[in-house]
Symmetry: C2
């Protein structure tokens, strides 16, 4: 499984944030657009595919024919996906080589098929790919989505959990979410990373040195007063500073701050 690598830029420019020296992600499910209408949506779907390492685009009877210059214009650089796209006359032709097909749909069907979340579908696809199977995801056209006849050949249905009061995703957004879940299911990026760069976390003795320095200056300034309150005040200060996860550089900076403040303002003459 590939590492997550650098995350997305928010830039509109397709090369922003892209590092072409990094290994490109390959493999994954085929994306099958069934009678897509607008070339723009085919292009943005191709871009979303490549964002998450998907390259196998199949087009079933696109309304405006193929190739479509509007798709290229909208792909923002994902030309390799469009160039490799397979044009098919029927869904059967587009899915014939696949071991498992997932149909993205919002509607309840009168067909008894498992309905998966995108995350569950991604796990299922990962498991299949790991045992050498191939998979594909069906997306319906912009106007009406997949018909029952389109979906009947699918092994499972996929529905995105979404705000029921505003449930419309466009085609490329649906492709983006499925690609994201596919990528995520194989991504090894830890949930949280703290990159300390060249520095390192402060040692306990460095922290104790800071505490002693601060507290002695605060004693001298009469801040830790009255004496019966001092222990709690010191505990709170130390807890606060420990919560910040200070580096050794932070400790040196704060000791400089304490020294500068303790020196006081130069008196005007």
């Amino acid at each position: 499984m590939q590492k997550g690598g650098p995350a997305a830029q928010w830039a509109g420019d397709a090369v922003a944030g892209t590092d072409r020296t990094r290994t490109a992600v390959t493999g994954g499910p085929a994306v099958i657009l069934v009678v897509p209408q607008m070339g723009e949506n085919i292009g943005t779907a191709a871009r979303a595919m490549l964002n998450f390492g998907l390259h196998d685009l199949r087009l079933v009877a696109p309304r405006d024919g193929w190739p479509n210059p509007k798709a290229v214009a909208a792909a923002s650089g994902a030309d390799e996906v469009l160039a490799a796209a397979r044009l098919c006359d029927t869904e059967e032709e587009a899915t014939g080589d696949l071991n498992a097909v997932y149909a993205t749909t919002a509607r309840l069907r009168d067909m008894i098929k498992p309905v998966l979340t995108p995350a569950a579908a991604a796990e299922d696809m990962r498991a299949r790919h790991q045992r050498g199977e191939t998979t594909g995801i069906l997306f319906g056209g912009e106007r009406a989505g997949l018909s029952n006849d389109d979906a009947v050949l699918a092994h499972a249905l996929v529905r995105v959990p979404v705000n029921p009061a505003f449930a419309s995703l466009n085609l490329a957004q649906a492709v983006l979410l499925m690609g994201y879940e596919w990528f995520r299911a194989g991504d090894t990026t830890p949930g949280t990373v703290l990159d300390l760069g060249v520095t390192r976390p402060a040692s306990a003795s460095e922290l104790h040195g800071l505490f002693d320095h601060l507290e002695s200056e605060l004693d001298a300034a009469g801040f830790l007063y009255p004496p019966e309150k001092r222990p709690a005040m010191v505990r709170n200060l130390r807890t606060m500073l420990l919560r910040a996860g200070l580096t050794e550089q932070d400790v040196r900076t704060l000791r400089g701050v304490v020294t500068a403040l303790a020196r006081g303002r130069p008196r005007r003459s």
Copy 2:
């Protein structure tokens, strides 16, 4: 937490798949666009927000001013989000009321802050909202993303794991993924659902009846031959049929199929 409700339509039409009788999802983090450039991206970001129940949009010094008719045209019906959007002069103004701010960024920063995946950030935001805190997510402009000065006020950075060889997401796609993860973190939709509708799974005795019927007809047809192979052939047939998770309706259908086939083709006279 809201249920997932009906999943997205892939239709371009913003009302497709939408059930306005369903409870709208509310709450969640503010989406803060810092010096966004194109009105279209503000509109599609608003649509992505509403798809996942986010309503609090804040715009810091949008390049083309505000309101922006291009945003309305691109929002595909998410007008309520645009109408309620707050125009701010500075990021400080836009984030002043929030307890935690997350900066979406692709670049490594020379600031030592935790870097979260969207999923980890969503869990963190859910935990904060459950204890009554408010949160917001910063998104930079299309061209350059967030600057270090933009990100320094954030409690954490968020990076989307993406194909390192094609890492560019546009602004609305970034908003979509963060909204999706927020929604997902509170969504209770089971990973897999099998909706049987009006029917029910077949009982064991109904299945046994089907097996007996099929096997007796196959014995009569001489299919389960030779006798030493019969037990394995029967096991395979039964295993295959059990794997299909048949309903009582399916069993009745299959028994009809067996009867019809066993009757054989009418001989031509």
